[in-house]
Symmetry: C2
Subunit: 453 residues, 2 copies
């Protein structure tokens, strides 16, 4: 299937639910659409670790009844969603694509965000594939637009499920680029909030200092409805200001966007570069000022600092020392060669390396914050090109590292394509200005799609 | 047993180990001292949930051999320590004084700090009692100095075990006053580091945004040796600067200390007030300047703000909503009436209440930081008086709330007594200046003890 950003569209629950109260459609009808897509595509895409159609139909029927009674629990009542298999769903194992967890007990509780969405009447459709420990061996999943290519990772199955219309929403987690990257590669909308602004507790979290709960969805509206429900019911990570769960921000034209290169640009293929430049030109014609790193000393300093994030992330291996070095000692054969490499790196680090990494992060954050009155946000590509061919893998984090290290809200805008495959624009805002970033994202999405390369 | 701060002393592992290399004493001999105290007192004190003398003796023998070979693993090689029963010890259940956990699986891994201490050759002597979920029904433990009184909580058994010479070191956790308070009531040294500076992961943590790993010990040297080992091996909480694990800071006279009242002073009995005033007078005679809240607008503003911490902590009930409201729904009879009350409070809170609590905390922190060039630290009593008579309970947090909310390093100095019972001085420093606070603490301890009331 060739991807065309101008025509690609996925069933949106937010759009559908507006009719539910008047009997136009129902959660059950919506679910059946998803199931039809699943039946058509799942055998080849392999987005799910597990799913349960019987439970899903029961939950959709109950929600249908509530909408008919004029008493839905929330805007997401009846929403079928996928849960990345690093998060807990009560009664199911959390497997994280690792044999280490093959004999683990089923989770006792739902992860916080799963509990929150269920409180609002949404229901778990299934658990979506991910990479080993969300960081090592890729998931056995293929890109819905080209089954010879990777869907990206580590929120692999979530991106693939939304991109094949099996689900309007699925959850992800991002330490480096694990939400934005697969969303770019699969051509779906995605949102990684300010660090800590959505509660990511309940599951396996090997990189807690930078890990974010993120959402991938059919539209930014689907994503925002779910994010609001999570923020209201369980807030952010403990000790962190929660997402300001205002009503869906209206589209708003950004006045000035900073165009970044980071270390991604040099690794980007020429066709992708060209299509991004063309998109930027179009933006300028529509009156958005695009500033380059040379625009100010402050921007130039920040752009320079983003090239050092790779060193920062290397030192984060410190966080997998406990308890995973010990786990490996107990059962080395339950860790892939990729994970062994990560653990070998971890074993070499000292607390002084980690201290330096945190200092590097603090400096990056401070340079980023210094720009908050100078620009409305930052744009780059969301990935260095289309998903690679061959055995599934993660994709690369080069454009995503900075936003993760800074902890600023970030979106994937599925606006471009290259070689018949999706390519996203990454928009990054400023910490705790998530709603503003969403307003700009909606304007950029509504403005329309660029020509394909 | 009447407590006299001038003569009270507990077996110090740090002191003993200086002889180990020359064959003066050994970890095994040290352990046998602890076991003798356990056999003499545990039946009435009830400091332990469980202990394992056979394993302890085996570990002590192995450490003895290493010292004899001139190859100890660290300064804590052979140290027997207690682990508060909210933290995991591999192979044991984590029970947290709650029937909810009675059927839980044994922990798979040691908590990070337990693993770190074991890496250095220390070994778990036993798990010490705590309160239900570290916040509700008290532990069934009695004060070693008067078996009709509470030992305080929630690090109840840790304080009682050290105070009855059963252990030179035990771990605790503090959300409000759960390390400093029982240390004051039992008359032992204690250290709660800067928030996040010692890794507290691995266990049950119902208040993650303010919870600290803390240490209770025979001397400040025992505590610092253990803290260093934890910092070097597992660092702080992920994303937080770890404790600067410098060698034991030399005693240093503080030049100027801020004397606080907080809401504790009005709740303090007259005898305790008098003995604290007398201690302050002695300090002044020794050339330490004591400043009162009227000293500056900045100090006065901070002192005022500390009276509002109680509101801050009330809103922290938000953090027990997930997953404990659901747990209660499944098995209401496994929660005490105290815990039911906390969960009822939690159920009433909204995310907006929580947001306000975080804003209140940020304000308090900013007022505290503003004083960092004005004074060397802050002194108050560590508790409103001796431990109460009657059924065990927690003690009160009134003097401890501010240091926990601010996240500044804090020590209990077992310097005073009232009514034949221990009463501590609380010394609080500034974030990430833990070593400086310890240097002042050691000077205040070495200076000697005040007369008893």
């Amino acid at each position: 299937m060739t991807y065309d950003p101008k025509s690609a569209a996925f069933p949106s629950f937010s759009a559908a639910r507006r009719g539910f109260a008047e009997g136009k459609g129902s959660p059950r009808e919506f679910l059946e659409q998803c199931i039809a897509a699943l039946e058509a595509r799942e055998r080849e895409v392999k987005a799910f670790v597990s799913y349960d159609l019987e439970s899903a139909r029961k939950a959709a029927d109950a929600a249908t009844q509530r909408w008919q009674d004029g008493a839905p629990l929330s805007a997401v009542d009846g929403l079928p969603f996928g849960v990345k298999d690093c998060y807990d769903v009560a009664g199911l194992q959390t497997l994280v694509n690792s044999p280490w967890f093959a004999d683990s007990a089923p989770a006792e509780f739902d992860a916080a965000h799963v509990a929150a969405l269920k409180d609002g009447g949404a229901f778990v459709f299934g658990k979506t594939t991910t990479t080993e420990f969300t960081m090592a061996l890729p998931a056995p999943t293929w890109n819905p637009w080209d089954l010879t290519r990777t869907p990206g990772g580590s929120s692999t199955g979530s991106a693939a499920a939304v991109a094949s219309s099996m689900l309007p929403l699925a959850t992800g987690s991002q330490v480096r680029g694990s939400v934005i990257r697969p969303a770019s590669i699969c051509g779906v909308a995605a949102f990684k909030p300010t660090f800590g602004a959505l509660n990511r507790h309940g599951g396996i979290d090997p990189s807690p200092s930078v890990n974010h709960l993120g959402l991938l969805g059919a539209t930014m509206e689907d994503i925002w409805d779910a994010a609001r429900q999570i923020a209201v019911a369980v807030g952010g990570d403990p000790g962190h200001l929660p997402l300001d769960a205002a009503p869906l921000p209206e589209p708003k034209r950004p006045l000035r966007l900073a165009r970044q290169y980071t270390i991604g640009w040099d690794k980007t293929d020429d066709a992708s570069k060209a299509i991004f430049e063309e998109w930027l030109e179009g933006l300028k014609e529509d009156g958005v000022e695009i500033v380059e790193p040379g625009h100010s000393q402050a921007f130039s300093d920040y752009e320079d600092a983003t090239t050092r994030t790779i060193e920062f992330f290397f030192h984060l291996f410190w966080e997998i020392r406990w308890p995973w070095l010990e786990a490996r000692e107990r059962a080395p054969d339950k860790f892939s060669h990729v994970m062994h490499g990560h653990l070998d790196n971890a074993a070499k680090l000292t607390i002084e390396d980690y201290r330096r990494a945190l200092e590097c992060q603090a400096q990056l954050q401070s340079l980023h914050r210094a720009l908050k009155d100078e620009v409305d946000g930052f744009v780059t590509l969301a990935h260095i090109g289309a998903g690679q061919k061959g055995a599934p893998e993660m994709g690369t984090p080069w454009y995503n590292d900075a936003s993760s290290a800074v902890g600023a809200p970030t979106a994937n805008l599925p606006l471009l394509s290259v070689d018949g495959m999706p390519l996203g624009v990454q928009l990054m805002g400023f910490e705790h200005r998530d709603a503003q970033m969403i307003a700009h994202a909606r304007w950029l999405l509504a403005r329309g799609k660029a020509p394909s390369a």
